[in-house]
Structures are given as structure tokens and as C-alpha cells.
């Protein structure tokens, strides 16, 4: 029943386009320049992915004939794109996402504040923080059980993984602190602009 999963790249693009309308080239540069380096960065991945998003009506594009340079096709997000983005960001923190390296979770988190607001971030961080220890313990007990029969380098590689997860756990506490302070300092302020959506006051 795992239906129609838009691939991660699609969501990454959707999230970035949501932040501000952009061209394929800009998006590509974001991937190469920033820490999102794990994503494709190659035109053969990005342009087709944008086409798919447009085909599914999650984004719309417009060619800008702006001064001098070659025309650029600028994408902006649509209603249905927003809806998909929100649905994706609202998915629960699954243990298997943690096991798979937490890449997707971090990607989701990076877009979360703008799309869902600070309270959603806080909840996410709490779930993330509590999903980590069980997995860390699992890895540690595996290490304890097998360390004598594993080659040193394999053991160390596993230890590196454990350290990485511990670092994530510490980070999640720190991040939670940051958000709680933010909320504490601006208690009256609306954290997102989604208010006008539903209820009158």
C-alpha cells in the first residue's frame, strides 16, 4: 500500500520552490553549494524531476525573458503542491527513517518551520529525539555482541555510526531548546501565516 511515493528529490525541489520561486539552474546550484549535496545536482535528474512536478500540477512554470541572459524557466509552487508538501512534512517520524540514515527526516525538518510553523517543529524534534535512543541501543548491543569477531576496521566503522547517531541526539536536544526559547520570547506572535486558512479567529 506504499503508494505513489514522490521521490525525495521531488520533495526537496518542492520545498525549495516553496521558499521562493526559482529556476532549475538555481535549484541545481543550491544542491551543489550547500549541505544538500547528497541530492543529485545533475541536470539529467533535476530537469526531468521538475517536469514531473509540473505534469502533476504541483508546480507551475513561466519563462522569463529577463535582460540579456538566456531565458530562464521559473517554477513556483501550486496549491496542490503545497498540500503535498504539507502532507509529507506531517508524516510521523518512522523508526525505519532513522535506520536509513535520517537524511529524509532532516530534509523534512529544514522545511518544516516555514510550512508548518514552530510548534510542529517542536513536536517533530521530540519524536525524533525519542526515536534515536532505541536505535542507538540496538547498535550498541550488536557491537557488544560481535565486537570480538569483527575486524577492527568494521568495528570502528560501526562505532562511527553510533557516534553519528549520538551526535544527532544531542543536536535534537539543542534544537528543541532553540525552538522553545523562540516560542517563549514570542508567545503572542503567529509563527506561521496559515491562520487565515480556516477559522475566523
Amino acid at each position: 500500500m506504499k503508494n505513489a511515493k514522490t521521490p525525495l528529490l521531488g520533495y526537496a525541489l518542492l520545498g525549495l520552490i516553496h521558499l521562493k520561486p526559482q529556476s532549475g539552474y538555481e535549484l541545481r546550484k543550491t544542491f551543489t553549494d550547500t549541505a544538500m549535496g547528497n541530492y543529485s545536482d545533475s541536470p539529467g535528474a533535476i530537469y526531468p524531476a521538475l517536469k514531473r512536478l509540473e505534469r502533476d500540477a504541483d508546480v507551475m512554470s513561466e519563462v522569463q525573458e529577463a535582460g540579456g541572459l538566456r531565458r530562464r524557466r521559473v517554477y513556483r509552487i501550486s496549491e496542490s503542491g503545497m498540500a503535498k508538501l504539507k502532507a509529507w512534512l506531517r508524516e510521523p517520524v518512522a523508526p525505519e527513517d532513522v535506520r536509513r540514515g535520517a537524511d529524509e527526516l532532516l530534509l523534512r525538518f529544514s522545511f518544516m518551520e516555514r510550512v508548518l510553523g514552530a510548534t510542529a517543529c517542536v513536536e517533530f524534534l521530540r519524536n525524533f529525539a525519542s526515536a534515536l535512543p532505541p536505535y542507538i541501543e540496538h547498535l550498541e548491543s550488536f557491537l557488544a555482541a560481535n565486537s570480538t569477531v569483527m575486524p577492527l576496521s568494521a568495528r570502528l566503522a560501526l562505532e562511527n555510526g553510533i557516534r553519528g547517531y549520538r551526535s544527532m541526539h544531542e543536536w535534537s536536544q539543542y534544537a528543541l531548546q532553540c525552538f522553545l526559547e523562540l516560542e517563549g520570547n514570542q508567545p503572542q506572535q503567529r509563527r506561521t501565516k496559515v491562520r487565515q486558512k480556516g477559522r475566523p479567529s
Copy 2:
């Protein structure tokens, strides 16, 4: 001319089979159970990958009709498989491998001791350790330059990445220590398993 790159999964399988001849099912369980969770674990990926390895003569298989259970096809590595594994493990530590998350580097490292010996591990760790700081600094300067215009959650996600790389750097120092101690304690010993060669069956 980046030719014929065996996909990572292929190398992961090759490395595991090198450790000991195994069946597809065992390999699959290793992926699900251990920290190598980032790799497929699905039969639709593993069995075809094994077939490819066999087609390329990097592994050979034999059906074992062992007691009671369904027959299992056990794979063992071939000469050419060993050669490919070694060549892969000997590849230099490329900065782009670091940028991509260092997954592949860690996978290589975990097999390295058995295949290339401790000295190769030491060299690898030195290269790895010195490849990290430039990238960490790059991320930090990006953060410094953009932190004011980034949403809090995006900034925190980036900080998580930086922490992860710092953790890897500390780990690499620690791992280096471990290997240097090992070499110090066994100075006469060949670190590659020379004697395993002439093993009396």
C-alpha cells in the same frame, strides 16, 4: 570516462562475501539487522545484484542441498572479484565522497583491514581526517553567511550536518589511535593475512 561503476550495493555484497561465503538470504539479513541498513535489504535488489556479480565472474555460486531446508545458493568471491574489491578499496579519498555523506567511504573502510591490511587503514584514516576540515569550514562559512536569512529549522538542519562531520573527524582521530596501537603491539606481524593463504583445509 567514469566507466562501468559497479553500484555500491555490488561492492557491499562483494565485501561481505569476501569475509565469508554466504547465501543471498544471509546477506540480506546482514543488511536489515546491522548498521548497514542504508542498503537495500529487498530481494528485488539483492538477487539481481548477485546475478550481475556472477555474470561478471566476480563471484561464483554453488547450490547447497543441505539438510532439510530449501536449497541455498552460496556465493564465494573469485580472483577477479578480489581484484575489483581491492581496486575499489584503494581508490583515493575524494572530497566529493565526503560531500556526499561519506557513506561509501565508511563502507570501504569497514572492509579495508581484511583486504588491504592495517597500514592501508592508517593511510586511509589520515586522508579522511584531512579531507574533513576543509569541508566543515565550507559549511561553517556558508552558515555564517546565510544564517540570518535562513529559517531557524533550516539553519538547525545545517548545524546538524556540521556536527555530524565534526563527530566523524573526532572518530577518525580515535580510529587512527586504535590502529597505531595495534601496529605498535604487533610490529613483527604481517598485517595482511599472509598465513591465511596457505590454510590447511
